[in-house]
């Protein structure tokens, strides 16, 4: 059974239909890279998976939970679906450890002491053991994004959504974040990434999804799709990036 199942999802902002019937199956351990032009609906699709956006038709199941249903326990859903954002969105009044500890203590009712150990473990995982007591404003963009990843991982999600997580970073900081994500992929974490890093999508992804005008335009194994794009839109998109 798929871990995330997206079936014919449609979404409009007012008169503008941004998702025009998207279907996608993600199995455990998959690393799905979603690419496409801005405005193609890729970020919206990602935000629908954890209920940050609502959709009007179709269905999304994440770990067996129907997203956006009237009876859906969103808290339960979000314990299983983590998310990392383009703008990091760290809590500026809390230290790195405080950011990571918040949800485990508040949502999962883990004791402060255990949460602190968990935070140390997660921050070690993203290579920031020495920054455990630093505030976000004292960290570089790359470090902040790694704390954001640690924060999401602390809830032990079954799937992690990454929404253009390197787009707000200076070029020299992109790699330290990508390396962390690559390690997660190697550890078997299920990932759905919206990304502009084509080389990363090709090398780390197990599936590639090219979105165009609110639909999945082309998809398949990354290496094959990049080597021989079938549609003129993807050919243009790939060559345009160079």
């Amino acid at each position: 059974m798929s871990l995330v199942s997206i079936r014919d999802v449609r979404k409009s902002f007012g008169d503008l239909e941004v998702l025009k019937g998207v279907s996608l199956e993600v199995k455990k351990g998959d690393v799905v890279a979603i690419i496409g032009r801005s405005g193609s609906g890729k970020s919206t699709l990602l935000r629908c998976i954890n209920g940050l956006e609502t959709y009007q038709a179709g269905a999304i199941l994440a770990d067996g939970i129907e997203v956006g249903g009237l009876q859906t326990n969103m808290r339960e859903l979000r314990r299983h679906v983590g998310m990392v954002f383009q703008q990091f969105n760290l809590f500026p009044h809390l230290t790195a450890a405080g950011n990571v500890m918040l949800a485990p203590t508040v949502v999962n009712k883990v004791s402060k002491k255990e949460a602190r150990e968990l935070a140390a473990e997660m921050l070690a995982k993203v290579g920031l053991s020495d920054k455990i007591d630093s505030y976000p404003s004292q960290l570089s963009g790359g470090q902040q994004q790694r704390v954001a990843i640690a924060r999401a991982l602390a809830m032990r999600p079954k799937v992690l959504l990454c929404d253009e997580i390197t787009s707000a970073l200076d070029p020299e900081l992109v790699n330290e974040v990508l390396r962390v994500v690559e390690q997660l992929a190697r550890d078997g974490m299920t990932l759905i990434l919206v990304t502009h890093e084509m080389r990363f999508a090709r090398d780390v992804g197990t599936h590639l999804v090219f979105m165009h005008h609110g639909k999945v335009h082309e998809s398949g194994a990354p290496k094959e799709v990049f080597a021989a794009p079938q549609t003129p839109e993807l050919q243009q998109f790939v060559s345009g990036i160079g």
Binding site: L52, E76, R78, V81, F91, H93, V107, A148, M155
Partner: protein, 209 residues
């Protein structure tokens, strides 16, 4: 007028000042508590909670404080309820204060970037938990200066309580020109440090991030 009566008047006024301070404090603190509850209702996405709050705020912001004092004092009497000037002044000032503080604080809550809500949403925090652990700690910083600034309005608002016979600063003695000059001076002494404080806090917090 003799020096003697001047000192008597001043002494009486200073004695009456305590009631101004007490009424201001009680109104401000109780109004703040009501405002905090209203703030949660007003900023929730739940219509049945947010709408009554909006109406409440419009009502108390959109009518003069003097009318509200009359309503609580004379209005209650119409329904056969005996309300002491103390209670009437307190209630009117409390409701009036809460309406303004709710709006001031709502502005501070809405100044927190949307990403903070989305990040805490994604981590599974409920609305109350988001407010408690993520939004309010940040909003408090920006709320301090305007809140202190507004406390000046509450203090000045107590002057109106004299109309319903509440014995505070404006109503303690009967020599209009001298009394009201002194009253103004005493109110100024109460309010100026607060205004000054609010200005300084504003400057400092603006620098700090």
């Amino acid at each position: 007028m003799s020096d003697f009566s001047f000192w008597i008047i001043l002494k009486n006024l200073l004695w009456a000042t305590q009631w101004t301070v007490v009424l201001s404090l009680i109104a401000f603190v109780s109004g703040g508590i009501v405002a905090l509850v209203l703030l949660f209702m007003r900023t929730s996405q739940i219509g049945v909670l947010a709408w009554p709050t909006r109406i409440y705020i419009e009502l108390f912001q959109g009518t003069p404080l003097l009318m509200q004092l009359f309503m609580f004092f004379f209005g209650a009497a119409l329904f056969g309820i005996e309300v002491s000037p103390w209670i009437a002044a307190w209630l009117a000032l409390m409701f009036w204060t809460s309406a303004f503080l709710t709006e001031i604080w709502r502005g501070c809550v809405e100044a927190i970037p949307r990403g903070q809500w989305e990040a805490s949403d994604s981590l599974g925090l409920s609305y109350i938990e988001q407010m408690r652990y993520v939004i309010l700690p940040q909003a408090t910083r920006i709320a301090i200066a305007p809140t202190v600034g507004f406390s000046v309005q509450v203090i000045k608002g107590t002057a109106l309580a004299s109309i319903i016979g509440f014995v505070e600063l404006t109503n303690a003695t009967f020599r209009p020109f001298l009394v009201y000059s002194l009253v103004a001076a005493i109110y100024f002494c109460l309010c100026f440090p607060l205004s000054w404080c609010a200005k300084r806090l504003e400057g400092r917090l603006n620098v700090a991030r």
